[in-house]
Amino acid sequence: MVSLMPLQRSNHRWLMLFENDIAALWITLRLALITALTLLMVGTPLAWWLANSRWRYKAVIEAAVALPLVLPPTVIGFYLLVAMGPDGPIGQFTNWLGVRPLAFSFTGLVLGSVVYSLPFVVQPLQSTFSGIGRAPLEVAATLGARPLDRFLTIVVPLSRSGYLTAAVLGFAHTLGEFGVVLMIGGNIPGQTQVLSIAIYDHVESLEYASAHWLAGSLLVFSFFLLLIVYGLNRRFDMVKV
């Protein structure tokens, strides 16, 4: 540690930097976890509907869900910022509720991340749901299982691998978020500053050692996360009939 410390800086300044990094790491993990959980709850009914609906304009919803895959995150961030502003629909809604505006807040970050990572959760879920087909559900219905019962006892267990993929992709994709957060989070250290932005700040101020420390940890962490997913998914595949 000491050897990494630039000579011209005081010990105190280094400690503050270090605390900021820890705070950024903590905010990022919290954001990714809350976003992934929210996405699983929002994404499940949405993906189920997309997998089963025969509505003729379903493609419109599918395209809208997939938009974050192609749009630059700054575009999403920009429109979300506008929407959260005093004249935007979200801003007016929060005003009507009497709560503080979402822009530059952690809740705002969660909302932005949910939109941004939506396709990464909905698409794997939709494809597993479609893969199950109608047959097991029809069997369960003739055995007396109600619709919710069928979903919880047949669809969810048969979608284990889809849920794992969706959860990890949603989590990991939020970890690496930059553009949306920068637009609506405002980079407030200790409140809305996430890891990717902290790294950017370090590089900007030529603090390469700190940037390395953060970037390297993120790289290793993400790699092992994906390794676990692919390893587990192979085990699940073998259970399939």
Partner: protein, 379 residues
């Protein structure tokens, strides 16, 4: 004790318009070619397809579909055995069976509205939840309760599927070609289980099949379907015996007669049976342990007719009968003759050429001898 249904629905170019009344006990075979709407009819009965308004379904006095009533699938007390076993891969065999057992209790309490007009008291008798051990023993599943369904053979999977359907405490068991996806060996393996099941379970069964052998062996009643409609219905022998049914028009026309065992170890590797009228019937030796009541399937094309009792014929099985009906000649110059075996009500069909028919001067009420060239045993 009846199952009544009147359902119409269309799916693309196909239209189902089926109306029938089947007895509320025993096995009713739904027989017809592929695409005749057999499976769609079963799916509509189970509630898996929504028929057009105005339909009606009632099972032993309980209405599943009717004026303002459409009981959802999970509340119809129906057991459904699909062509594919459809075992849940994330549960072991026991898990699959318990899935049905756990839900059978709630379903018994939440049945559909009653058919007030009929007021069939028998239909309202609450069948208890079947005993787990009884059902697993009936289908011979004791030894692989803890196995994963993936590791089972096709026949074993289907036996588990049948047990699972039974454990859901159904008021009606629907079986959609349960043997069609199995190889010959697995079929042979599973048929004795079906015999035992139908003999002991006491639940009405609708059994879809396009295999004459299965129908002849398992069914008591028959529904003939063609192009989405029910063409003929009634007791098995009556429907099979009709000379004008769609089945009779095909080369597959056959009859079923019942026999008792006289001597299992007969001469020259034969077993000796007797018809209701006491006529002897010789068949290739039957192995012991099979049941007393034996069904024989006789194809109409394997029966020839004689004015007098044939003497010095190599054909062993010669039965006396009376002509009861003659069909018109078909475009191949063949006629179908319906015969009633002497001293019984059993019907036999014979397919002979129009020319022979004219030469012999066959008419209704004439006594005649039938020579049977081949017999299929269905024990």
């Amino acid at each position: 004790m009846t199952i009544r249904a009147n359902v119409s629905l269309s799916r693309g170019a196909f239209t189902l318009q089926a109306q029938f009344e089947a007895p509320g006990q025993g096995v009713t075979a739904v027989f017809g070619r592929s695409g005749s709407g057999k499976s769609t009819l079963l799916r509509a009965l189970a509630g898996l397809e929504t028929p057009q308004p105005g339909g009606a379904i009632s099972v032993n006095g309980v209405t599943w579909l009717g004026q303002g009533i459409n009981v959802p699938v999970h509340q119809r007390r129906v057991g459904y055995v699909f062509q594919e076993p459809g075992l849940f891969p994330h549960l072991c065999v026991r898990g699959n069976l318990e899935y049905a057992l756990k839900r059978s209790v709630g379903r018994g309490a939440q049945r559909g509205g009653r058919d007030g007009v009929q007021g069939d008291v028998q239909g309202d008798v609450q069948r208890g939840v079947p005993a787990f051990d009884e059902v697993t023993a009936l289908l011979g599943l004791e030894n692989f309760l803890w196995r994963n369904p993936v590791t089972l053979s096709g026949g074993e999977k289907q036996r588990v599927a049948i047990a699972r359907a039974l454990l859901s405490s159904p008021a009606l068991l629907l079986m959609d070609e349960p043997l069609a996806a199995l190889d010959l060996h697995s079929k042979e393996e599973i048929l004795p289980f079906l015999d035992r099941l139908f003999a002991s379970a006491g639940i009405p069964v609708l059994y879809v099949s396009h295999a004459p052998d299965e129908v002849a062996r398992l069914a008591d009643h028959l529904l003939l379907m063609e192009e989405g409609t029910v063409l003929a219905q009634g007791p098995l022998a009556d429907v099979l015996g009709r000379v004008d049914s769609p089945l009779a028009r095909t080369d597959e026309a056959f009859s079923v007669i019942h026999c008792d065992i006289v001597e299992l170890d007969g001469p020259c590797h034969l077993s000796v049976l007797s018809t209701a009228a006491g006529d002897r019937v010789y068949v290739p030796r039957i192995t012991a342990g099979q049941r007393q009541d034996i069904r024989l399937r006789i194809n109409a094309r394997d029966v020839s007719l004689c004015n007098q009792r044939p003497v010095g014929s190599s054909i062993l099985n010669i039965l006396q009968a009376t002509i009861t009906q003659l069909s018109a000649s078909d475009n191949k110059g063949q006629q179908l003759i319906q015969l009633r075996l002497a001293g019984s009500d059993e019907l036999l069909l014979a397919r002979i050429s129009e020319y022979s028919c004219q030469q012999m001067g066959l008419i209704n009420g004439m006594d005649i001898y039938c020579q049977i060239k081949a017999i299929a045993l269905l024990c």
